[in-house]
């Protein structure tokens, strides 16, 4: 997993709430047995007509956001299916940070385990960012170490993150390698169960 600390990029405003993982990556793309290559299918049915031509007014089809690494959406982002293909698609497309007022629990975990930083800001702060991002190219500086988001106009927001997840993201840990260090505890637990 790639470590993450500072990201500086234009934000992509997605003005929708309760975005479910079926929209993020549709089921017809879940048959691949690899972790990569899902980016071109991100938000597929919102991005493309049935004949494969782009839907002009969908935000990802706006060239302004082409190199954006920060996706901003409304509450309860990533609800529904547990499919990790959703964060794989987000990452493969080029986003490293998602900002929303709230996330579904499984999706949040899946992000952290793939080096995507899911930031929670207040409803009103997110609405502000979406509105600014819609009006103009709006650049954000993300700093995980400081737990801050700073807009190009100087507005600064702070966010909370569990210290364990923070360290994992900063260091790009392989969580299994970490857990293996607790093998004696696991073995002792199993021993106790057998007794």
């Amino acid at each position: 997993m790639k470590p993450i600390n500072k990201i500086s990029s234009v934000l992509t405003p997605l003005e929708r709430k309760n975005v479910d993982t079926d929209q993020i990556i549709s089921k017809e793309f879940l048959k691949r047995i690899e972790r990569t290559g899902f980016g071109k299918y991100l938000f597929y049915h919102w991005r493309f007509h049935a004949d494969g031509t782009p839907i002009e007014d969908f935000v990802l089809n706006n060239p302004r956001f082409e190199n954006s690494e920060i996706l901003v959406a409304q509450e309860n982002f990533g609800c529904g299916s547990s499919r990790e293909h959703a964060p794989w698609a987000i990452l493969d497309y080029g986003f490293r940070v998602v900002i929303a007022p709230s996330y579904a629990d499984i999706f949040y975990n899946n992000c952290v385990k793939n080096g995507i930083l899911p930031i929670r800001l207040k409803d009103q702060e997110v609405d502000e960012l979406i509105s600014k991002g819609q009006q103009q190219n709006f650049k954000l500086e993300i700093n995980l170490e400081d737990q801050s988001v700073t807009g190009q106009d100087g507005t600064r927001y702070e966010f909370e993150i569990d210290p364990y997840w923070k360290e994992m993201l900063l260091k790009g840990w392989d969580e299994i390698a970490l857990t293996v260090q607790y093998d004696s505890y696991i073995a002792a637990y199993e021993e106790k169960q057998r007794a």
Binding site: E15, R16, K17, N18, D20, D22, Q23, S26, K27, E28, L30, K31, R32, I33, E34, R35, H45, A50, Q74, E75, N76, C79, G80, S81, S82, R83, E84, P87, S102, Y103, A104, D105, I106, N109, N110, K113, N114, D162, P163, Y164, E175, I176, T179, V180, Y182, D183, Y185, I186, Y189, E190
Partner: protein, 472 residues
């Protein structure tokens, strides 16, 4: 100190705890299927890791499998995914109910059938509807593929202590009201993210009177309320369901286990972090009209109007949903025509669901403009239903009787609803395109689906039932 079942199970499974860290939790049962496991097994191979406890794993194929012409999977990528699971199970020694196995079925239907699902267990699966197993008083939740790999390798997960929520259902269910209506009504009343960050426990008189299969329907859709897990404290109903099943102990050993299971039930006076309640009188046969499971109402009602909502984001969400669903504000729900009926999925494809639907359809015909299919939840359900002649009832009415699998719930196989057409579906999600790109889903109970099949539009199933005469 009085404790909830959630706290009791949690404490029994902590392998390691330290201030400032999530707890390392032991996992008792790991269920696997073909869609969310290949990358996890590949990760093990790349790092030279083994499956720590193959004896605590159980795999099946359900998401992708065809429900007819079982032996010819035409889609080469589906075929590869199914073959990959077979190969991975062979290589790592994981027990598998493969595509032609007599135990094959939807993973959340077969776990309980085989007695693998038991009270007090921690159960995970790379599937959000793992919450189904909570019906037994197990702590069961969906995980992503990275977590699947972590559990395969270590049999544990790092988990932060969850908040607990009591969801109380007061009173008894009214005439024609099913478990599906209960959970849809709860999600509609309290919102699609009511359970985010919580594990929910369903309590109350109505819950105690439900069968295990009905309890599974409710717990199944906990994730639709945002809760990773939803459970019900075990009682005598739980014990009787499990008695005699494969994978549970026999004789005295069973009685001992049963006592241990009953002791897991939430203690009198235990505190939850939050409590919500709903009265059974508020609940009538339900249908969804929108693009998430909280967008639903009683069948006698109308599609809402923007004026019914205060927040702008709710007005916007309504507008987006109705645009996708091709519905008008204020139209009666019973005026919505449907072209497809799907009776199936981990929510509503158990034997009691098929029995209930067959009672409605018996001697009637599927409306000529409707294509209707029944997809039993497992081979075991299918055999039992055929034994009772339910297949003949459905076939005589004009339903198709298929092989088992997830099928049209998520349309990963060839069973899908065409763009622009509507389905009354007993499944769990009505997200945009869920049953096929451009398709429109209305979530209902099995009896409501059967009634819709007859009339060709959403309708109140109570018109097809005889109300029991109240005893004086």
């Amino acid at each position: 100190m009085a404790k909830t079942i959630i706290e009791k199970i949690w404490e029994q499974h902590v392998v390691f705890e330290e201030q400032g860290k999530p707890d390392l939790l032991y996992i008792d049962l790991h269920l696997l299927h073909e869609v969310t496991s290949p990358q996890a097994f590949e990760g093990l191979r790349l790092n030279g890791r083994k499956v720590r406890r193959p004896d605590l794993c159980f795999a099946t194929m359900d998401h992708n499998v065809p429900t007819r012409n079982r032996d010819t999977i035409t889609d080469p990528i589906s075929r590869k995914q199914i073959k990959t699971l077979q190969d991975n199970c062979d290589e790592f020694g994981v027990p598998l109910a493969g595509i032609n196995h007599p135990d094959q079925g939807i993973v959340h239907v077969i776990g309980p059938e085989l007695g693998l699902t038991q009270p007090g267990k921690t159960i995970v699966c790379g599937d959000s509807h793992t919450s189904t197993h909570g019906a037994f008083g197990a702590l069961a939740f969906g995980i992503g593929t990275s977590e699947v790999e972590h559990v395969l390798s270590t049999q544990t997960l790092w988990q932060s202590t969850p908040k607990t929520m009591e969801v109380r259902i007061e009173g008894n269910l009214g005439f024609g009201v099913t478990a599906k209506d209960v959970i849809l009504a709860i999600i509609s009343k309290f919102g699609i993210d009511m359970g985010t960050g919580f594990i929910m426990e369903y309590t109350g008189e109505a819950v105690r009177n439900l069968t295990m299969e009905e309890r599974m329907t409710i717990c199944n859709m906990s994730i639709e309320a945002g809760a990773r897990a939803g459970l019900i404290s075990p009682d005598q109903t739980t014990i009787e369901y499990l008695r005699g099943r494969r994978n549970v102990p026999e004789g005295d050993a069973f009685e001992q286990e049963a006592n241990r299971w009953l002791a897991l039930a939430t203690d009198e006076g235990a505190k939850y972090d939050a409590t919500v309640s709903i009265h059974a009188d508020e609940i009538s046969p339900f249908v969804t009209w929108g693009t998430n499971p909280s967008m639903g109402s009683g069948i006698a009602e109308r599609v809402p109007s923007a004026a019914d909502y205060e927040k702008q984001s709710d007005k916007d969400a309504l507008k987006q949903a109705l645009a996708y669903m091709h519905l008008e504000e204020g139209m009666p729900l019973s005026s919505i025509s449907i072209q497809h009926v799907f009776i199936g999925s981990c929510t509503n494809a158990r034997l009691s669901d098929l029995r209930a639907a067959s009672e409605i359809i018996k001697g009637k015909k599927v409306h000529p403009s409707v294509t209707a299919i029944v997809v039993p939840g497992s081979e075991t359900v299918k055999r039992a239903a055929e034994q009772e002649g339910l297949d003949q009832v459905f076939l005589a009415a004009g339903f198709e009787w298929r092989e088992t699998g997830c099928s049209m719930c998520l349309a990963m196989n060839e069973d899908s609803v065409p763009a622009g057409e509507r389905c009354a579906s007993t499944s769990n999600r009505n997200f945009e395109g869920r049953q096929g790109a451009g398709s429109m889903t209305h979530l209902v109970s099995p009896v409501m689906a059967a009634a819709a099949a007859i009339e060709g539009h959403l309708t109140d199933v109570r018109n097809y039932m005889e109300e029991p005469v109240a005893s004086v």
